[in-house]
Point group: C2
Chain length 144, copies 2
């Protein structure tokens, strides 16, 4: 069980956009270059973020991408769920009738508990906090 | 992000074996029938469990499968990792040099923390405890 590459790179791209001054629009090629993402893959991972209104796009020669939401209001869970869909952990949690063994399955509650703990951890981590931390890491590396 | 069907059905099969008196050998067709598993899929999911010495197999006319380890010593994590490999959550946790951004990536520690919490939850749940719970659920259902 592993998060998808799409989620991993989407977080990377959003963290980069969050570090632009005044929410500046960033050229696609700049995101690709600095974040090691191919143009085709960037297009693929940005689509769900645009749909979730986390990222905005502007067309044209000066066009590019920008953060649409306040970084304080974007969590890791938001990005993961935009890319992968709701975090279920097991298909028995997708809806009440998803598994006809739920009434006597002792593992159902375990998945529930683990999934809720994961969601809690990922939804308390904001892009604002993580972007600030990354700035500090990079500043410390540059100073050493 | 979701556990595989193999993990889900492997847990189901192991829970069934754990409920046999005195660790009796169970015919393959009995596991298939009671646990809603096709013979081909059962063979596929049992192989990693046999390799991990969780399940034993006996060939021949009276052959079948049995639990090789004490149910108190088998956890949900053991079964998940037998089927899916080590629980990493993100590829940056597979080994120290897996990602060249670890030194300035603020998300690396989050994956670490979430993965460790998942492992802790899944490794404290034993098959012994879950099988007992399932017996009680089924007894209550039969009595009602």
């Amino acid at each position: 069980m592993i998060i998808t590459r799409a989620t991993e790179y989407a977080i990377r791209a959003v963290l980069f956009l969050a570090q632009q001054p005044h929410g500046d629009i960033v050229l696609k090629k700049e995101i690709c270059k600095t974040q090691d993402i191919t143009p085709a893959f960037l297009t693929k991972i940005l689509q769900p973020l645009i749909k979730a209104q986390i990222v905005g796009s502007q067309r044209g020669v000066t066009g590019g991408f920008f953060l649409r939401k306040d970084p304080e209001e974007i969590t890791l869970l938001d990005i993961l769920e935009a890319e992968e869909g709701p975090l279920y952990l097991n298909r028995c949690l997708t809806h009440d009738d998803a598994c006809d063994r739920n009434s006597f399955c002792p593992v159902h509650d375990v998945w529930h508990e683990v999934r809720d703990a994961m969601k809690a951890s990922l939804s308390k981590r904001t892009i604002s906090e993580l972007a600030q931390q990354q700035k500090e890491f990079l500043a410390a590396a540059a100073a050493s």
